[in-house]
């Protein structure tokens, strides 16, 4: 479904953030992208929806080459790629509802969105999603009144209301406590399963990644140096990705302990 072909990004400073990355993500598959800070994880997913312009190579979504689209075509394809951010990236002075409905901006005209007259079906879907993540009572709160975990749930709703085929998820748990992190990861993975969505999840926390995904891709200095099942992440592989450390302590098998879902 998503296919990256020799995707490369060289910043103006000369830093080579991505080096000929080839990656194929089939429909419905959730993959974790791991690697140290500065490895190019963020750049990779931003090159897919072209918040960052790739220098060369291509990204193809269902046969459409995103890299060569003009601005109108790019806007149409961006609707099919929902993005979830590290610091939630909700527009803080807008209400929760406005934030979620902003996920429909690619589908409605300017005046409709300016006057906040979104189609009833969009509003209904927004309420359904809010209810699904357990925040139905928060619709008219301003986004900056919510806690971190709540904000990220709204961020997830905003991405899902786009009716995307692919989720691009950038460090969704980096600003959250361990318990909320698990809840958010579980929510993302569940939503992907329910809607048969593919997802690329950038994540620092190797253990958290292993708990929730079927496939892990390792990035180091812009090079893809690992692609396999979570079980194949040996200390040797982690040393290649992150550098020398005592990885045995990290790799202890995590018990999928008592499931307490926040929703």
């Amino acid at each position: 479904m998503l296919k990256l072909d020799k995707l490369t990004k060289i910043y103006k400073t000369g830093d080579k953030a991505l080096s000929e990355v080839d990656l194929e993500v089939p429909k419905g598959q959730v993959i974790a992208l791991i690697g140290p800070s500065g490895a190019g994880k963020s750049t990779l997913i931003r090159c897919i929806n072209r918040l960052v312009e790739p220098t060369s190579g291509s990204a193809t979504l269902d046969g459409i080459n995103i890299t060569t689209l003009n601005s109108g075509g790019l806007r149409r394809e961006r609707r099919r790629m929902g993005m979830i951010f590290q610091e939630y990236a909700l527009v803080e002075r807008l209400t929760v509802m406005e934030n979620i409905l902003s996920g429909r901006l690619g589908y409605v005209g300017f005046w409709r969105s300016f006057l906040r007259k979104f189609p009833q079906s969009d509003v209904d879907e927004a309420y359904r999603l809010l209810d699904r993540v357990g925040l139905a009572h928060m619709a008219d709160k301003r986004a900056d009144e919510l806690s971190g975990g709540q904000r990220q749930r709204v961020g997830i709703c905003r991405a899902l209301i786009q009716d995307p085929a692919l989720l691009l998820v950038d460090e969704p748990t980096a600003s959250l406590d361990p318990k909320t992190s698990r809840e958010i990861m579980r929510l993302i993975v569940e939503m992907c399963r329910e809607r048969d969505l593919a997802a690329i999840i950038n994540i620092h926390d190797v253990n958290l990644a292993k708990m929730f995904v079927q496939r892990v891709v390792g990035l180091e200095m812009g090079h893809m140096i690992f692609d396999g099942a979570p079980e194949e992440l040996s200390p040797d592989v982690l040393t290649r990705i992150y550098g020398e450390e005592d990885w045995e302590a990290t790799i202890e098998t995590v018990d999928d302990d008592d499931e307490e879902d926040g929703s």
């Binding site: 609707r79 002075r93 807008l94 690619g106």
Partner: protein, 276 residues
């Protein structure tokens, strides 16, 4: 990892010696030349003023009459002139602020380096510099020359001045905005206008409101000065009163201006505290 990384400075050569903050200008001769030069210049500059004490003595009495007039401000004998002047000033202030803001917003968007392409950025910055470089009085003299005496020249002057002020400060606020929030809106497939409306506008709204009210306040004060060069408003009334040595009326007008400015200031404080 370790504290003994060799970067050319031996710890033993540092211990036991006092520490002093490095001077702002490193070269000692240059430092002293600048310091002594400044002091000498200031002494010469102050001694160049000539004070004619007998003139000051005569002037003191005139100044005193002016101040005493404030104890008996005369609101009544020129009341119709004052009302007419104030009405003109208020009309000038409100219209020029509204028009100035309306023009400033697109220019501010164009003058924000993080969202505007280079040619548009340079063009908008150019407009802002022109508006800021020309003092209101000079612009007012020009517009009075073109459009004749009256509030139209004042309205145009204040609109023009508002652009430089508001567009510059608003553009700076846009440049400081949270990039990721705007990025998130862009990633949904929003058009440029939708992106501005959802991703940028909410972030700059408090600043826009605060600056607009502040500018309203400035425009009112300026409208009083512009009358002195013939651009209408309460300033024209004030000028006439000065010319006729009617210090009572002058005092009345100044008191009204002060009260209005203070009221605006109080109002803007309330509004700015509520918009966060």
């Amino acid at each position: 990892m370790s504290g003994s990384v060799d970067i050319g400075v031996k710890l033993s050569s540092r211990l036991g010696k006092p520490w002093r903050k490095p001077p702002f200008i490193n070269s000692a001769p240059l430092r002293w030349t600048l310091l002594i030069g400044t002091v000498v210049y200031l002494i010469l500059a102050f001694s160049s003023f000539e004070v004619n004490w007998s003139r000051v003595y005569a002037g003191l009495e005139r100044g005193w009459r002016f101040i005493v007039a404030f104890s008996q401000p005369d609101f009544t004998s020129r009341s119709s002139d004052i009302i007419e002047g104030m009405t003109e000033s208020v009309i000038m202030t409100v219209t020029s602020t509204v028009v100035g803001i309306a023009i400033s917003i697109p220019i501010a968007l164009g003058a924000a380096s993080n969202i505007a392409p280079m040619p548009i950025y340079l063009a908008c910055r150019f407009i802002i510099s022109i508006s800021r470089a020309l003092n209101e009085i000079i612009v007012a003299i020009l517009f009075v020359a073109i459009f004749g005496f009256g509030p139209l020249a004042g309205f145009l002057t204040l609109s023009f001045a508002t652009i430089g002020f508001l567009a510059k400060l608003l553009a700076e606020d846009i440049e400081d905005m949270n990039k990721v929030q705007a990025e998130a809106v862009k990633s949904t497939g929003a058009s440029w206008l939708q992106w501005v409306n959802f991703g940028v506008q909410p972030q700059i709204m408090p600043r826009l409101i605060g600056l607009s009210i502040y500018r309203l306040d400035i425009n009112f004060r300026e409208s009083a000065v512009l009358g002195l060069v013939g651009a209408g408003g309460i300033g024209a009334t004030l000028n006439t009163a000065f010319d006729r040595y009617e210090f009572g009326t002058v005092a009345a007008i100044l008191i009204i201006i002060i009260v209005v400015v203070m009221a605006l200031e109080y109002l803007s404080g309330i509004i700015r505290a509520r918009v966060k």
